[in-house]
């Protein structure tokens, strides 16, 4: 398996890229301007594309180059473009009613990363992988997941929810590239495609929300309770 025989250089390269993706998710957590948010997401997707390519190179999985290219094209360019277009159409520039200040949300995010690390470390110990890149990959995967959920919880704009979901998906993709690079390529292709459809569906629904419900903030969508 790839994670067992990686050269030190490859290990440090992967670590750098995973940490980079994590830092970018903190950029998202700290910014309440939706555009910065989208740019950070795009950058994170490019980092993940780089991870795919690097794994393809070091692990001799030529099909991962295709995945890297598609990730950069779809996740790194097309999805951010679609979300930016949505932001422009809706005229929502920033998150006005965040639950917490950026600094507090970053502290919470840090707590979540520590929690993810602890879970991954425990898992690493039981799998006899405690000094392996797998622990870092798991940490990245769980942290991005939890940070994505945190973003969805703390923010109320519909666009922020979409972006939170995209961060969650990015986390899964990042982890799966390192842990299971040999996963059938069909899966990865379909997941990319599926994500595109989901974002387009979200786009249509958000515009309907604005047209028929008059609001895109979950704080104003309170008609259905009980």
């Amino acid at each position: 398996m790839l994670i067992f025989h990686l050269s030190p250089l490859a290990t440090s390269l992967f670590s750098l890229l995973v940490i980079l993706a994590l830092v970018l998710s903190f950029v998202m957590l700290a910014s309440h301007w939706l555009k910065n948010h989208v740019y950070a997401f795009a950058a994170e997707s490019w980092v993940i594309a780089a991870i795919s390519a690097a794994i393809g190179y070091y692990g001799h999985y030529p099909e991962l180059y295709v995945i890297a290219l598609l990730t950069a094209l779809f996740r790194g360019s097309l999805l951010p473009y679609l979300v930016l277009r949505l932001i422009n159409r809706l005229g929502v520039q920033r998150e006005f009613t965040p639950l917490l200040k950026p600094s507090s949300s970053m502290v919470l995010g840090a707590v979540l990363v520590i929690f993810s690390y602890e879970v991954s470390r425990q898992l690493g110990v039981t799998l006899h992988l405690s000094d392996n890149i797998a622990v870092l990959a798991l940490t990245g995967m769980f942290s991005l997941k939890l940070i994505g959920f945190l973003m969805m919880i703390l923010r109320s704009e519909a666009i922020s929810h979409i972006l939170g979901l995209l961060v969650i998906e990015n986390g899964i993709f990042l982890g799966s590239q390192i842990l299971v690079p040999g996963m059938p390529i069909l899966m990865e292709l379909v997941i990319i495609f599926d994500l595109l459809i989901i974002v387009m569906t979200f786009g249509m629904l958000v515009r309907l929300l604005q047209a028929h419900a008059g609001a895109t903030s979950s704080r104003k969508l309170q008609k259905l309770v009980g």
Binding site: I172, S176, V180, M183, H212
Partner: protein, 486 residues
């Protein structure tokens, strides 16, 4: 005819219906095309169920899997699709303002059925996940079809919450696959059978973490509490036939996924923990549903919480494990599919007749609508698990199976909560039937057509028959389905 051909026909029929509906763009043609598609789909699912082989069958280049439990879930989909398509004709004609968009509705309904006919047959857990995702996308548009603020809000919440939940399930699937790479090498086919085969070698922690993630993820889709928050909104705001399909068919499919993941944990030798986790979610669902039904006023919201209740019962049935509780759960699936469809149809009739979703304004139902109202009342008796209806038999069987399980405490909790829900339901119906007179001028004047009541009869008769007589063949089929890998 081979199974691959049967399955291909099953998928081609709705697909052709969608194309024709969108080509013709005529409301009446759309109705009948969708009805024809649902009739054919029902016949094909029945044929697949009847001629299904005794063993799990992998076909279609290894991508398709047909198991007794899968065929049963598929049959429930075909059944509810047929009933919902019949009812849709009557119901959608009562919404004249939607007439110009009606063909889109029927195309979406056929599309929703198509995604549901695909998902249970997937041999690859990852593709199963994607099929479930597609059911969410298509049904979100159906939930928001009526374009009122509440409908769009419900569709939005449905899509966001379920997508977030399903993302957790995807993580779980990847961890399962990762667990397999330690024995099978970096690349192997992701199938249910392979995962079951490597489960004994998977480290317990990893296996359990992966299962919990898939349980929470697909549990969101099933609507198990506390991930149920989208369910009452989506079920109460969509058009009535869609509510029936969501409740009677879609939730079963997600539960089938959970049961398949549970079987992986089972073959890993840690089944008791997995079963208990599912059982606990089921009990919480029953509790939440009971508490919300007591004080509910919206007719469809009450039925949505009742779906939560029945998914809880099914989760408990599968969670108990053992052949008896399993047979009860399978029987419960079809009884619930039939009865819940009938209840939604009754609610739809009354909502259109009284022009409100609020049960406190539906007054003296039996006087104005003796047939539809009486069927609705009988359905309420059935849905709460009272004799002589099918749900009574299946719930009793689950309870009996539970006594011998490792978690007999849940039997008592379940029994008490079922009684609570029975009392709450009957109280609502007492108010609607013997409560205050309608406000003068607000008496219902709508005449219901045969399209509005016929589907209720079609659902009611089998539920009554299943309550009086549990066919011997079905019992052996359930026992057999328990032994075969799901």
């Amino acid at each position: 005819m081979s199974f691959t051909a049967l399955i291909a026909a099953l998928w081609i029929v709705p697909a052709v219906a969608i194309v024709l509906i969108m080509a013709v763009r005529h409301p009446h043609w759309a109705e009948y095309l969708n009805l024809a598609s649902s009739l054919a789909a029902f016949g094909l699912t029945l044929a697949i169920l009847v001629v299904a082989p005794d063993e799990a069958l992998v076909t279609g280049a290894g991508y398709l899997l047909l198991t007794p439990l899968g065929a049963w879930v598929l049959f429930c989909v075909g059944l509810v699709y047929l009933l919902a398509s019949l009812y849709a004709i009557g119901y959608m004609r009562l919404l004249p303002e939607e007439k110009p968009r009606l063909h889109k509705y029927y195309a979406l309904q056929a599309g929703f059925a198509l995604t549901m006919l695909i998902a249970p047959l997937m041999n690859n857990p990852g593709i199963f996940w994607i099929a479930i995702d597609f059911t969410t996308i298509v049904s979100a548009f159906l939930v928001g079809f009526e374009r009122e603020a509440e409908c769009i809000e419900a569709a939005w919440k449905y899509l966001i919450i379920v997508s977030a939940g399903l993302a957790l399930a995807l993580l779980g699937i990847i961890l399962f696959y990762w667990g397999g790479t330690f024995t099978l090498g970096p690349t192997y086919a992701l199938t249910w059978a392979n995962l079951r085969a490597v489960a004994p070698q998977m480290p317990e922690t990893l296996l359990f973490l992966a299962f919990l993630l898939t349980l929470v993820g697909f549990g969101t889709k099933v609507g198990l509490a506390p991930m149920h928050t989208w369910l009452p909104d989506a079920h109460s705001e969509g058009p009535v036939p869609v509510s029936a399909m969501l409740s009677g068919a879609l939730l079963n499919i997600a539960l089938l996924g959970i049961y398949r993941f549970l079987s992986i944990v089972d073959s890993g030798g840690h089944g008791v923990m997995g079963h208990t986790a599912l059982l606990v979610l089921g009990v919480i669902s029953l509790l939440v549903a009971g508490l919300f039904i007591v004080r509910q006023d919206g007719a469809k919201r009450m039925l949505a919480y009742s779906s939560l209740e029945h998914m809880g019962v099914l989760a408990i049935g599968f969670g108990f494990g053992g052949p008896m509780a399993f047979a009860g759960a399978m029987y419960h699936m079809i009884n619930h599919a039939l009865t819940k469809s009938m209840m939604f149809f009754g609610a739809g009739n009354m909502i259109r007749a009284y022009g409100t979703k609020s049960m406190s304004n539906m007054r003296r139902v039996l006087r104005y609508y003796p047939v539809s109202g009486a069927l609705w009342l009988l359905g309420a008796v059935a849905i709460t698990g009272a004799p002589p209806f099918g749900l009574f038999l299946s719930e009793i069987t689950i309870l009996r199976g539970g006594i011998l399980s490792p978690n007999p405490w849940a039997v008592w909790v379940m029994a008490i909560l079922l009684i609570l829900i029975f009392v709450a339901f009957m109280n609502h119906f007492r108010r609607m039937i013997w409560g205050p007179e309608p406000v003068p001028g607000a008496e219902p004047t709508l005449t219901l057509s045969v399209w509005n009541t016929l589907p209720m009869w079609l659902a009611f008769v089998p539920v009554l028959v299943f309550g009086l007589w549990w066919p011997e063949g079905l019992w052996t089929f359930f026992q057999h389905a328990f032994v075969v890998q799901p």
